[in-house]
Symmetry: C2
Subunit: 250 residues, 2 copies
Amino acid sequence: MLSKNQLKYIQSLHQKKYRQHHGAFLVEGAKSVQEVLQSNFQTELVVATEAFYKENVHLTDRQRTAVEIVSEAELTRAGTLESNNAALAVVRTKENRPLLAQPDEIALVLDDIRDPGNLGTILRIADWYGVRKILCSETTADVYNPKVISASKGSFTRVNWWYGNVVQVLSQLAGTLPVYGAFLDGADVHTLPFKKSGYLVMGNESNGIGPDLARYITQPVTIPRYGEAESLNVGIATAVLLDNIRRTTA
Amino acid sequence: MLSKNQLKYIQSLHQKKYRQHHGAFLVEGAKSVQEVLQSNFQTELVVATEAFYKENVHLTDRQRTAVEIVSEAELTRAGTLESNNAALAVVRTKENRPLLAQPDEIALVLDDIRDPGNLGTILRIADWYGVRKILCSETTADVYNPKVISASKGSFTRVNWWYGNVVQVLSQLAGTLPVYGAFLDGADVHTLPFKKSGYLVMGNESNGIGPDLARYITQPVTIPRYGEAESLNVGIATAVLLDNIRRTTA
C-alpha cells in the first residue's frame, strides 16, 4: 500500500514542473515497466499489483528496486492511464547531454513537435530505423510526459535525446554534414541519393520547420504525393523519410 | 438555436447504433465541415457559430443546406469534440457498395483495425498515396465514428470504403491479382518488385492478419528493421508500404 506522501509524490510527476523539480518520471503499464527495469535507467520505485510482482520479481530483485504492492484501483489512482492492472515505475530522468551525429549516423532534429503522442511515436520509429539520437528544440513536448513514454512502447529506453538550442547546433555544422528537412517543394525522396550521415529535421505539426532553422537545411526533401490529402502527420512523415534514407544508404 | 429534438438527434449520432438507424453521421470542426460541403456527400444540417456561418455561407447556400446558428457552448454540447468554435454537419451515410481493385489500381484491405484514430489516419494516408478503395472486415472500427472522421482530416470525402466479408472477396480472386500482406517474415519491401495492381492487407493492431485471411496472401512483405523496436504502428506501416509500392510501380 502507498503512503499518502508516496501517492502525492507519484501524482505530482504527472506534471512537468514536478518532474523537473524531482528529476523523476513515470513509466506505466506491464511492458514499459518490464523494459525500463531491463534498461540503464535507474528505477526508484515500482508500484505493482501482486500478480505483476510475482511474475517480474526477478527484474525488481536484480536492480534491488523498492516495490509497493497495491490494488488495481490504487495503481490506477496513482498513475495517468485510464486503467492499469499491472505496474508503474518511478524512474530517474537522465542528464541533458548534448548529442551530435557521428560519421555514418543519421540523427533526428525535432523543431517544436507539440503533441506528446506524436513525439512518442517518433521515438518508436527512430528505434525501428536504428536512429539513436534525437535533438529537440526547447519548445518540443517533454519526452518525460507519461503520454510520450507510453506511446513510445518501450523505445524510450533505447533512444537518446537532448533538449536545447537546435538552431545553434545546426548553425555550427558549417556544411560538414547534410541537413535534410521536410518541405513541400524539396527534392523527391524516391530519387534523391541520401548520405549515410547527417541530420533529418522534422517541423511543427501546423507550421513545419521554423524560419530560424530553415536557413540551415542544406537539402529540402519532399515525399511525393499521388492523391489529394493536404499533408501527412509528422510521425508518418518521419517514418517514410527514414525508410527512404535507410534504403538508399544501407 | 437547436430544438431539444435536434440536440437529441445529433447527440444520438455519437453512437454507432443510431448512426446506422438514422443513416447519418457527424462531421466536426471548420476544415472538415468545409470539405464535406464541397464533396458529393449529402449534408442534412449544418450547426454553426455565427462567425463560421458568415464566412462559409457560399458553401451552405450552394447545397441549400439547412443551417442552425448556435453559441460555441451549444455547439460543443451537441458534438464530440472537447471544444468546437466553428461548426458540425449532419451528413447522410453512403450505401455500402462492394469495391474491387481495377487494373493499375492498389486497394487496401483492413482486417480488424480496431482503433478509430488508426482508421482515420489510414484514410488520410490512402488519400495521400492515391488509394481510392478500402475494403474493411466487419470487425474494423466504424468509419462513421466521429474520431475516424476527425483523424482523416477531410480525406473521408475522397476515399471509398466497403464493409463486408473480405475473406470471401480475396478467396474469389483466384490468383488474378497479387495480395500483399504485412508479416514479420515476408519479402523485403526495399527490393521486392511490386505490381501496379492488387490488394494490400493490413492486420489488427495486436494480432496482425488473421489466419482466415492469411491463406489468401500471395506475397507476404516486411518493412526492414534497423533498430530494436518490436513493431510499427499499423498507420505508420501502411504509409511505408504504400510509399514502397508507389516508388517501384509509378
